[in-house]
Amino acid sequence: MTQPTRREFLRDLGLSAAALPFILNLPSLGFANQTARKQRLVIIFSPNGVVPKTFWPDEKGADFALKESLAPLEPFKNKLLTLHGVCDKIRGDGDSHMRGIGCLLTGVELFPGNIQGGSDTPAGWSTGLSIDQEIKNFLQSDPATRTRFGSLEFGVMVPDRADTWTRMSYAGPNKPITPIDDPYQMFSKLYGRLKGQENLKTILDDLQDDLRKLSASINPADRQLLEEQTTFVQEMEQELKSTAAVASVGHAVPDLEPGVKEAAENMPRLSKMQIELMVNSFAADFSRVATLQYTNSVGDAKMRFLGVDQGHHELSHNADDDEASQEKLTRINKWYAEQVAYLAKRLAETPEPGGSGSLLDNTLIVWTNELGKGNSHTLDNIPFVLVGNGLDFKMGRAMDFGKIPHNRLLISLAHGFGHRIERFGNPDYCSPGVLTDLT
């Protein structure tokens, strides 16, 4: 068998192909960098815009009050930024929902294609990669920041169809990445191999017993073969023991509640499970970039657990003076804010392994949306809420940028990792570059 290159090796791990002996030979994997600070980025998506009057703080600067939609984030107010006036300027093919999600993290136009939206011309996938993947590639290119997966793409209730409305991350032009919205599938991606290895250890005694028994009973001329195999099995046992520390990943493998089906009423449980897996994978340093996509652009989940019977998208079309709908939409966005707050809380209470402070001190959560507002389908004032100190932004402020293209925010995220790109996506929307006000 040929020795795999490191790239193949990483790929194999990520795709769950044969990996055991390679793990054994490289015990330092996933723990490459124990000294330097581990910066992380999480991008959370929720759909259909927000209710501006219950979302955006009235004040600017450090002295501001959180309104109803953002109330759950109150405990993290001094670690939070609201960014008003950041606009998705990308035009071209596709309707606002399609461009809203497809250009959100890519900052560049969609290809012409065959997906017809409710208006505008049909379109295909994005023509560029997304900022999470740009940062992942940057981190993976350096052995000091390289991790087992590089990035993890989580989802909650993402429909089982691949189209422009259901994909946010792109590995490159025409290369959408499918988020994993089944926590059990994510679990097996993260821990499946380890479980197999644990089981492997448990069967070795029985295997050796039978090998011994057979060796004793067969033709002596053939015995050598079985004796050799016995030696190999013993060696494997030794190797498994000596790497036990790696196999146990330095933390308890999370226990998932079994049998949670993918259904709208289970969204709270699914959300929590995914957040637990994400926090665990950060603690194990499996990845430093993660996305978490709730439903999809135009997502129409019926969130009855909030007492809302209509689908989210349907509701979002209702007029501003329909107070009942505005209230329900606020309730929905408040629930999403709770999820962000829960993630922030879990990160805040998890100490940084091998470092100081908590995971939240080294993580930036970016919560965003494909639209500014549901009933107007505007791509202006995309709701960007940032939580955590991962990129050393000056937190605890309500900011207003007037009307700047969101490409500059994407550039700023890269700069936060020391990846000093001057443009990202369509260059026309990149100058004058990084948002200096953030730091």
């Binding site: 068998m1 040929t2 769950s16 192909a17 044969a18 990996a19 055991l20 002996p21 969609l110 290809f111 012409p112 294609g113 065959n114 997906i115 017809q116 939206g117 409710g118 049909p122 379109a123 295909g124 996938w125 023509t127 169809r161 691949a162 189209d163 422009t164 409305w165 032009p173 025409n174 097996s188 499946g192 191999r193 479980k195 197999g196 290895q197 089981n199 492997l200 448990t202 069967i203 029985d206 295997l207 017993d209 039978d210 090998l211 028994k213 057979l214 009973s217 067969i218 033709n219 002596p220 001329a221 053939d222 073969l225 079985l226 195999q229 190999f232 099995v233 060696e235 494997m236 049998g259």
Partner: protein
């Protein structure tokens, strides 16, 4: 060990060197054989040895206690031995055995018993404990899982079932008609599908959809690249019908080629579904009143391992839906093929690790498909019982026999008892089964005491015919005690030979026998052969495979057809190049050729082009092929690395003259006296395998000869006469029997008795050279065996 030259053959105006050569006296020397016929004429090295050397060294080099007690073994080359003998042997009269005589005796000693290979050869052969070969491992795993699924549909027809829909959705209500489509390769332009179907008119040109269903047959094992070429929405599933291999439902940008790669096991069918939808997807654009004509194309293509892309041919498609196959993708170190067949009698750490990885891969696969395989559901009350039942059956299949109580304890009960939950228990059982020697080895626990234990017999039959584990019918026959006689074994063999796994195994053997199991590079000098390209090379491969597939499936499966047939499969392109009379776009069909010009597969252009350089033919490669593969002669590698004489240095010589010139030295002649006259009869075929009557303005000389093991010289002119000789020669038959036996059984034929090869040859002749009957006899011979007595063996209690 081929050396390709990219040198133009220059025109020449030479003389009659070839004629002079034809009269040359050819000496035969230094060639030993493994055959039971080994019976060389006097004045050989052996005669010299017995008269001059055996008195001290013993008749077999074993030594003589009083005079020279040491056996004659060592690692000197023949040249070194020759020099040593010339200088110092015999001890009492050095200098009396020199030159050619010394060389002949040295050669005899070296190949008779002195060298390491001779020693290995002389060891008494026995049926050895063997692990599964890589091929056997992958097929065994596939067949381990298969019975837990609903069996695939068998449909003898070819092509895919196309369902045509009058909307972009593939909903039942919009389905208009269904028909068998030979291949998927359509340019609809801006029209509706316009098939001949009476309901075709119902399908509008601006919006329609098609779903093709059926299976794809993978002829070889390896990475397949599937490609759907379309300007519309498409999805393709292969093997796994849950997860698309290609999802191009979203058409984006100008990309019209959608690819997906899959590792497939050769000789098996895989379920396939292709969806195509001509329309905008997403939200229905009700506002658009105008429906401007739009074009649409779709084709389903693939790249077989190491081959070039093509529309998947009709013969690899079938409308029956196969069952999903569990394909182990983990890499394995290659098997030892130094003897020409996979000898699996050694293991390595690499191999052990590979089996661990593969076991984990299979355990994961089982976990993912557990409810389907165990026939249960996540919340079923009897799920625990079903999971245990699944493991019981799996263990029995993995070990190819029922488990005794102790094994049940170890492999099943204890794993479930020690696991945190049922699924973990299954995972442990699968890992342990697949790491167990009882799964990984053949002939395990087989001794002279229990050699014909019916479950051993069943395994020998199935590995012999299928390279895989016994199926339920065969295990059942074992249980019923119905595998005790040759007759009973033959009945099972007959049944199993109608299975695709048998055809695949035999096909692989024949391709290897023809030395084209790995796809050769047939690149030719483009200045000399501008029309010969990789498409044509792939067509030739198809042509050869079609011939083999037909022969294997035929009732007679007559070996002699391989040598004597006067027909060949050609399509339009091949026909143009090789001068037959078919329309340019004709599909493959059988074409008769002038019998005197060609013969069977021997002169098939694929082989002729392979046994050739890029610009000239190679009588040496062709002669070596005939000597080794057909006549079973052992040939040593050349004594020194030789670069073939480039045509440009001897522009006046024909290929034949050049070869004769270069191999004229005595040291070459020891082998080339055999090789060259077996290669010259092919001189009518140039580097592309095209028939020619002259080279450089000189008529082709295609005469050659062969000195049989009986010492008889047989002459032939051209390939037809050579083929006729080979087809009738017992040397060919005997060599083929030995090679086929090793290819199928993967144990040395001598282990089944010194007379086995000859007995099977006689049977082969009696059965009119039927491959199937010969294999049936081989299976009977090897499955019911009397192993040489062993000492210190105990039978395991059952």
């Amino acid at each position: 060990m081929k050396i390709r030259m990219r040198i133009k053959t220059p025109r020449r105006d030479g003389n009659g060197f070839g004629l002079r050569f034809a009269g040359l006296l050819v000496l035969l020397c230094g060639i030993e054989t493994l055959s039971v016929f080994a019976d060389d004429s006097p004045a050989t090295g052996e005669t010299i040895y017995q008269t001059k050397c055996a008195v001290c060294h013993g008749p077999k080099g074993e030594g003589k206690t009083a005079v020279y007690p040491h056996p004659l073994v060592g690692d000197r080359s023949i040249g070194e031995l020759t020099e040593y003998i010339s200088r110092s042997m015999p001890e009492d009269k050095p200098g009396t055995c020199v030159g050619d005589e010394a060389q002949r005796v040295a050669t005899f000693i070296h190949e008779g018993f002195y060298s390491a290979t001779a020693q290995a050869r002389n060891q008494s052969a026995r049926v050895e404990l063997s692990r599964l070969t890589v091929r056997q491992y992958r097929h065994a795993v596939a067949d381990l899982i298969a019975p837990f699924r609903r069996a695939g549909e068998v449909d003898e027809r070819h092509g895919l079932l196309g369902e045509y829909f009058k909307s972009r959705n593939l909903g039942r209500n919009d389905r208009v008609y269904e028909q068998l489509d030979p291949v998927v390769d359509y340019d609809f332009r801006d029209q509706s599908p316009m098939t001949d179907h009476p309901d075709g008119a119902q399908v509008e040109p601006h919006e329609f959809a098609i779903r093709w269903r059926g299976s794809v047959i993978a002829p070889d094992t390896g990475e397949y690249e599937f490609l759907v070429r379309t300007d519309q929405a498409t999805r393709l599933w292969v093997n796994d019908l849950q997860h698309p291999l290609i999802d191009a439902y979203v058409k984006s940008g100008t990309d019209t080629e959608h690819r997906g790669t899959l590792f497939l096991l050769g000789g098996r069918s895989y379920p396939l579904r292709l969806e195509f939808s001509k329309a905008s997807q997403g939200v229905k654009d009700e506002k658009a009143k105008e429906k401007p004509p739009a074009k649409a194309v779709v084709s389903l293509e693939w790249k077989r391992p190491q081959q070039i892309g093509e529309v998947i041919p009709n013969r690899f498609l079938t409308p029956g839906r196969a069952a999903e196959v569990c394909v182990v993708k983990s890499p394995f170190p290659p098997d030892d093929r130094s003897l020409g067949w996979e000898r699996a009698t050694s293991i390595s750490k690499d191999w052990d690790q590979a089996t661990t990885e593969a076991a984990m891969e299979v355990a994961e696969y089982v976990t993912i498909h557990l409810d389907e395989l165990a026939g249960t559901k996540a919340d079923a009350a009897d799920r625990p019982a079903k999971l245990k039942e699944f493991c019981d059956r799996l263990a029995e299949r993995a070990f190819r026999r029922p488990l005794n109580p102790e094994q049940q304890q170890r492999y099943l009960e204890r794993q479930f008892a020690g696991a945190s939950d049922q699924e973990n228990g299954v995972n442990r059982v699968v890992l342990l089964l697949l790491k167990s020697p009882r799964f990984l080895y053949r002939e395990l626990g087989s001794t002279d005491m229990n050699s014909n234990d019916p479950y051993h017999v069943a395994s020998r039959i199935s590995f012999g015919l299928w390279d895989s584990i016994p199926d339920a019918t065969l295990l059942n026959a074992a249980e019923q005690g119905e595998l005790a006689t040759r007759q009973q074994v033959a009945v099972q063999a007959e049944r199993m030979m109608s299975d695709a796994r048998f055809r695949s195994k035999l096909r692989e053997f024949l391709l290897r026998w023809l030395k084209v199991d790995r796809i050769p590079d047939l690149g030719k000098d483009t200045a000399l052969f501008p029309e010969f390209n990789e498409v044509l090379a792939q067509d030739l491969r198809h042509s050869l495979e079609l011939f083999l597939d037909e022969l294997i499936a035929s009732d007679t499966s007559d070996f002699r057809q391989l040598l004597l047939s006067d027909q060949m499969y050609l399509n339009g392109r091949l026909s143009q190049f090789y001068g037959a009379d078919l329309p340019r776009d004709a599909p493959f069909q059988k074409v008769s050729f002038e019998p005197s010009q060609r013969a069977g597969l021997l002169s098939h252009p694929y082989l002729m082009a392979d046994f050739a350089y890029s610009s000239t033919s190679s009588p040496i490669h062709r002669g070596v092929f005939i000597a080794r593969s057909l006549l079973g002669r052992m040939l040593r590698p050349p004594p020194e690395a030789v670069t073939p004489l480039a045509p440009q240095f001897e522009p006046d010589l024909t290929t034949r003259e050049r070869v004769a010139l270069q191999t004229r030295p005595e040291s070459c002649q020891s082998c080339h006296a055999l090789i060259n006259p077996l290669g010259f009869p092919f001189e009518h075929f140039d580097a592309t395998g095209r028939f020619r009557r002259e080279e450089l303005g000189h008529p082709i000389l295609a005469n050659g000869h062969y000195v049989t093991r009986q010492g008889e010289t047989v002459g032939f002119d051209g390939v037809r006469q050579l083929a006729s000789f080979l087809a009738e020669s017992s040397e060919t038959h005997s060599a083929f029997v030995g090679q086929l036996f090793h290819g199928m059984i993967k144990q040395p034929i001598r282990a089944y008795g010194a007379g086995t090869n000859e007995a099977l040859r006689v049977e082969f002749v009696r059965e009119n050279f039927s491959l199937r009957r010969l294999i049936r006899e081989m299976i009977a011979t090897s499955a019911l065996t009397t192993l040489p007595p062993q000492t210190q063996t105990t039978t395991e209690t059952k």
